[in-house]
Amino acid sequence: MSDEIKHEWPLFEVFVRAKRGLNHVHVGSLRAADHEMALHHARDLYTRRNEGVSIWVVRSDDVVSSGPGDKDAFFAPSGDKAYRHPTYYAIPDSVPHI
């Protein structure tokens, strides 16, 4: 099978900015021979109805992510830091604009 898929194009992740002022958001992936082709395919595939004003493409191999198993190590510590939130602090109702 490895011989059969010798010419398989690499996978790219696609991010689209829906309009000015918003972040690019991940919308899916596609196959392309190189970055330039990936951009063109992303335009055809993910923005056929004015869904975006800007596109990023990134080789899927280049994406590094935290895994589900890392969840505690990465995210649990923020659970006990309630003092990072404004509602942690009691302020009398009589104090305006705070």
Partner: protein
């Protein structure tokens, strides 16, 4: 919690399972098979209507049909993209389709004999697809559910352009009205078959419901489709080809006749009117495109080498 507990907990809370989460092997296999079959259906589904692009009667209809068939290619690619998050490889999935090792929806094995078929496919086939697909937007596997949201938004255009096309033909000549009735007669029953075998004969349904991949049973969705279609047929002025079709006030639903499941099984097994042609066409497209894919890959390799 271990992986299995997290998986069960995610389903219980009606949250989405994401690609890197632990999942049972059966869930992964079912998901890959279902997404691949769905993707293949979109890709093969380009053919029946694609055949009419060059023969569409006006530039407006041609542009609409072109956009619709392009959407179907897009839907196939959204779905292959979702399948790849589970470790499937889209080149491999295409080979499985071409070699007949994976299936696609039996509806696309029927021929499109007249331009009215383009309208009826939009109205009934895409209408049935929407009934099936809207609940899949809440399917438990995140990438599949997200792909379905995009797809459903676009399917609505497909159904409306079909119905509008039929309304135009129905206000035309007697021959055009007869064409619409004929296409309705041919596509009605195959459309009902799109929901799959009756619940009692659908052994995998219970597991898919438990995993929240499926949200409604085949018969439930089929009934919903019949109830939706009856007033649409009346408004259009066509007769649905089922003498047993009538409103049942006790049930609050329409009763309808027995589906020819022998025909359904025959078409699934590969003996439908167009099975051979559909696969041959897909195989030819793959083979004819091979040199382009190789050339593009070689060009990219050469350029990245030159940059180093």
């Amino acid at each position: 919690m271990n992986g299995e507990q997290v998986f069960e907990d995610t389903l219980a809370k009606d949250q989405r399972v994401e690609p890197r989460d632990w999942m049972p092997d059966g869930y992964r296999k079912t998901m890959i098979r279902q997404i691949a079959q769905h993707a293949h259906s979109e890709i093969i589904g380009m053919q029946p209507e694609g055949a009419w692009i060059t023969r569409a009667p006006t530039l407006r209809r041609k542009a609409i049909l072109l956009a619709k068939v392009q959407d179907e290619a897009g839907h196939g690619l959204y779905l292959y993209s979702a399948a790849e998050t589970l470790g499937a490889d889209r080149g491999d999935l295409t080979r499985r389709l071409i070699e007949g090792r994976q299936k696609y929806s039996s509806i696309f094995n029927y021929p499109t004999l007249t331009f009215a078929d383009v309208g009826v496919i939009g109205w009934l086939v895409d209408g049935a697809a929407i009934c099936n697909q809207v609940p899949l937007c809440r399917s438990s596997f995140g990438p599949y559910a997200r792909a379905m949201i995009r797809i459903c938004k676009e399917e609505s255009f497909h159904q409306r352009q079909g119905y509008e096309l039929l309304m135009t033909m129905m206000s035309g000549t007697a021959a055009q009205r007869a064409m619409v009735q004929d296409a309705t007669d041919r596509w009605w029953w195959p459309s009902l078959m799109m929901f799959g075998p009756p619940d009692a004969e659908s052994p995998n349904s219970a597991q898919s419901m438990a995993w929240k991949i499926k949200r409604h049973s085949n018969d439930e969705l089929r009934q919903r489709f019949v109830d939706m279609s009856v007033p649409q047929a009346e408004a259009l002025g066509v007769t649905l080809p089922d003498p047993a079709l009538r409103w049942n006030a006790d049930r609050g639903h329409h009763d309808f006749g027995e589906i020819d499941w022998a025909e359904f099984k025959k078409v699934i097994a590969g003996s439908g009117p167009m099975n051979q042609e559909r696969l041959a066409h897909r195989r030819r497209a793959d083979e004819d495109g091979a040199w382009v894919r190789e050339a593009a890959a070689a060009h990219a390799a050469k350029r990245s080498g030159a940059q180093r």
